[in-house]
Symmetry: C2
Subunit: 305 residues, 2 copies
């Protein structure tokens, strides 16, 4: 896992190489995290969505935050994998007919279209429970009290105080044309930013972060989380299904209030850039060690899928 | 919490008083565990099912196992509450239209009948995630490595290796008249016994259980879990909706294979008794401290609702 560390010694940090290497490491760890055994169908359903690709940004953020504070990223790998398990659970459940009713995700049929609604619900439940077991069981060379903090942080980020709360308000706002910016920000801070923040915070906690480190990194993550969501909403308007690997134009069709619908596309792009700048400013005290997190923040506004 | 300890000093342990006192303590702790805040609907949905009554046997088993090994039951209360949160999650999700499609539970409308399917799915997710946060955050005066073991044990009991695995096989067996005893036992060991075992094991772990203690207590819990399920299946045939607080006769109507359908009612009752005797024999080395767990095992075969 030390292959990219050398690149941090140069001024020209290569994000593309970094993301590619880290993604490969994460996917190998995810692949090894769940073996198919009896009853096969549930393990296959869990693996179907967990191994369906994606950028693996959440686990990569977790590893990068651990490394930022001088931790060994391998100490954060179980937590990084758990973050992707939790993210996958939220996608499987969000796609259900009773929720967003999506047929495609990352260019593939959604979990319930392949395995049925019952198994999709259970695959999400199993991924969520297993994420906590995986952190507690697989994390090595880290004091138990730090691992326990990670469990607590992740639980908080997923429960009604986090992801679930964001999804509930999002559902409540469906079909309402008068959603305010405050409510929209609540949704994104909870539905998107809370888990990103947990990825960064937990990686840092495993490396022994101080309260001040956590404050900087939480602000960093909340801001890239909001920027991430603004870009997502813009791409829903400007991108194609081929590029995005999912349905586009859904928000407009559903008359859903989004940042672009409130502010227009160019102002939304400007706000996303401001958020990314604010995120990066949190890392000014960490020198070269912050290059990966800084580059990832820039990458979020530059991405086209 | 020490009110009943005195009763352990007498030969005439009063289970009724014990269960009533413990249930009151558990319900007070559960009531305090979730406050209603924005977005209110999800917290109300979580509380609706969590506070819907029931015997609270799982948390009581957790507290009793902690106390059996000389632990302070208050150290196990957050875990006891978490067990009930997880149990509640499994009931909410099992009742969904895509699963068992039940309209009533404990004499009340099921969660999705009151709050809608989307909120019911999310309330389950939130209870599951919060259960882990609650253990990690609220457990006091216990070494962190023990609490981490509890997190791992509970995750294992809920994921595809436990509850979820049992539910998957149960769903696969629906409408099949040729389900074997082996498969039926797999279902009950996972769908019912795994969480009961986790309650007992985690209570014991928090008190500093040895591997030998855990082996005894796991066998105890697995056997009362199977006995519990046999009695449940018998009550589905012999009880009334008023007494049971839920629909009866469902298994026969669905031509579902159960222990009574394989063995008949009287043999099933005998087998349940044998399992309870085997469970109790695991506790022979613990003296009077085992009276609550012994009495609970007897209670399971004697109950009529």
């Amino acid at each position: 896992m030390a292959s990219h560390t050398a690149s941090l010694d140069t001024q020209t940090f290569n994000l593309e190489t970094y993301l590619r290497d880290r993604k490969r490491e994460v996917e190998a760890a995810l692949d090894a995290s769940i073996a198919v055994t009896y009853p096969e169908k549930i393990y296959e359903a869990m693996r179907y969505s967990l191994m369906a690709g994606g950028k693996r940004l959440r686990p990569i953020l977790c590893l990068a935050a651990c490394e930022l504070l001088g931790g060994d990223p391998s100490a954060a790998m179980p937590t990084a994998c758990a973050m992707e398990m939790v993210h996958t659970m939220s996608l499987i459940h969000d796609d259900l007919p009773a929720m967003d009713n999506d047929d495609y995700r990352r260019g593939k049929l959604t979990n319930h279209k392949v395995y049925g609604e019952d198994i999709a619900i259970l695959a999400g439940d199993a991924l969520l429970a297993y994420a906590f077991e995986f952190i507690a069981e697989q994390t090595t060379n880290v004091p138990a009290n730090r691992v326990l903090k990670v469990v607590s942080h992740l639980g908080h980020a997923v429960a009604a105080t986090g992801l679930v709360g964001g999804q509930v308000v999002d559902l409540e706002c469906e079909g309402k044309p008068d959603v305010t910016e405050t409510t929209l920000t609540y949704i994104h801070l909870h539905k998107t930013a809370a888990l990103l923040e947990s990825c960064v915070a937990c990686g840092a906690i495993l490396a022994g972060a101080s309260e001040q480190d956590l404050a900087h990194l939480s602000t960093y993550a909340q801001n890239i989380g909001l920027a991430f969501q603004i870009i997502d909403d813009i791409l829903d308007i400007t991108s194609t299904p081929e590029l995005l690997g999912k349905t586009v134009g859904k928000d407009v069709a559903a008359q859903k209030v989004t940042y672009p619908s409130l502010w227009g596309i160019s102002t939304s792009q400007l706000k996303a850039q401001q958020l990314v700048d604010l995120a990066k400013s949190q890392l000014s005290g960490y020198g070269k060690a912050a290059l990966p997190l800084i580059a990832i923040a820039d990458y979020i506004t530059a991405r086209n899928h």
